[in-house]
Assembly symmetry: C2
Homo-oligomer: 233 residues x 2
């Protein structure tokens, strides 16, 4: 196990359990903890410097997020990556993302337009600055996530937004998996710009259609470059 070392405590949350939940989540999404890998308490204790109980609480949280699977009396493991799971996540994301984007286009005001444009601008600048494969770069990932968050930020449904966040992270794990084996990233700057323009123009049909394609092609790319890592058909 090569998890993140013991950093400064309480980086993300007030309680240690919440903090460790976030750190474990990051390690899993970034594939520093490999899919299917058993999460044994002795090793976790060493890596995160917390007790059984606290780690157990964190793992329980992540189980609900679909990033960890629990086998009763047999411990926890990082959720495996499978073709079926990727397809499931992709189709569900498309459904949720289209709904939230439609609502945002209907509800969003000036602030929303500004947020969408500025997060895209930042993403573009980062891509200019970073040569080659920027997908695995943390700075790019944050900016990328923020752009997509801005797009749906006026969806006005805490429930849907929560589901979306969870699915986005599960999908990001697959993206990170394929990034390890992709020689050059496909040019997504054009895709993102087109989505932004359609959204700002309040063209719901076009914007949702572009998002659909965007999510779908991202998923296809994972299959293309990481299929040898996915179990099942």
């Amino acid at each position: 196990m090569t998890a993140s070392a013991v950093k400064s405590r309480k980086e993300f949350g007030k309680t240690l359990a919440v903090d460790i939940t976030h750190r474990l989540r990051q390690d899993i999404v970034a594939c520093r903890l490999k899919p299917g890998e058993p999460l044994k308490f002795d090793a976790l204790k060493l890596a995160f410097g917390a007790s059984f109980t606290t780690l157990r609480e964190a793992l329980t949280s992540l189980t609900a997020d679909g990033l960890v699977v629990a086998e009763e009396q047999r411990g926890f493991r990082v959720a495996p990556v499978t073709s079926d799971d990727l397809i499931d996540i992709t189709q569900t994301r498309i459904l949720i993302e289209i709904e939230l984007l439609s609502r945002s286009i209907a509800n969003g005001g000036d602030d929303w337009e500004i947020a969408v444009m500025s997060t895209l601008h930042r993403l573009g600048r980062i891509e200019e600055r970073l040569p080659g494969n920027h997908v695995e770069n943390p700075e790019w990932q944050i900016a990328h996530r923020q752009f997509h968050e801005a797009l749906v930020s006026c969806g006005r449904s805490p429930t849907l937004l929560g589901i979306r966040t969870s699915l986005f992270e599960r999908a990001e794990r697959y993206r990170n998996l394929s990034a390890m084996f992709r020689p050059q990233p496909r040019d997504k700057v054009g895709e993102h710009r087109a989505i932004m323009q359609a959204a700002i123009a309040r063209d719901t049909n076009l914007a949702t259609s572009l998002i659909d394609q965007h999510i779908r092609s991202t998923s296809d790319n994972v299959v293309k470059y990481a299929s040898h890592l996915l179990t099942e058909s």
Copy 2:
């Protein structure tokens, strides 16, 4: 606090924590634990006969389900019931349920048709047998849940089905809330039958439209009879 007393251990799961999660969930959905009520460890320990740690794990699970809210360093409480939350749940349920029902109609075979018909039949028999307000009856609730589960059972998406189950439970809590104040239940047997017939006839548009109305009117009924219990707006 009037939670379920200490029953036979390990009724639902192999581990105590999973078992207590289920029992706590039932108590919350049935409103035996009231919305907004603080969930203090001393009281829970007494009611469920488990230690801090085990209870903590259960509460963390339920927080992910949206039935419990956690305020860091200030403990847990039963999720409050609000108009906004009910609206959010209702709209999200409609989206998810329509998607799953459409897929089931497309995918379902003979076994699916049989499951839909037989679960509806059982529901009808139970309604005949039980006089008056059967909504709060556990037997009716199980049969009702099983009918709706059968309808969407061929949706072929573990993720969507999981989300659906979680939303169904959150909505059931609101139904139980309004059932306390509803003098006579509206006749739902006709609605359920119409949904079944449209589904079996593979009339996706009609079936999804009926499900939409069904969920919407259930939600309206909650507002009608329990609005005085909902905070906000």
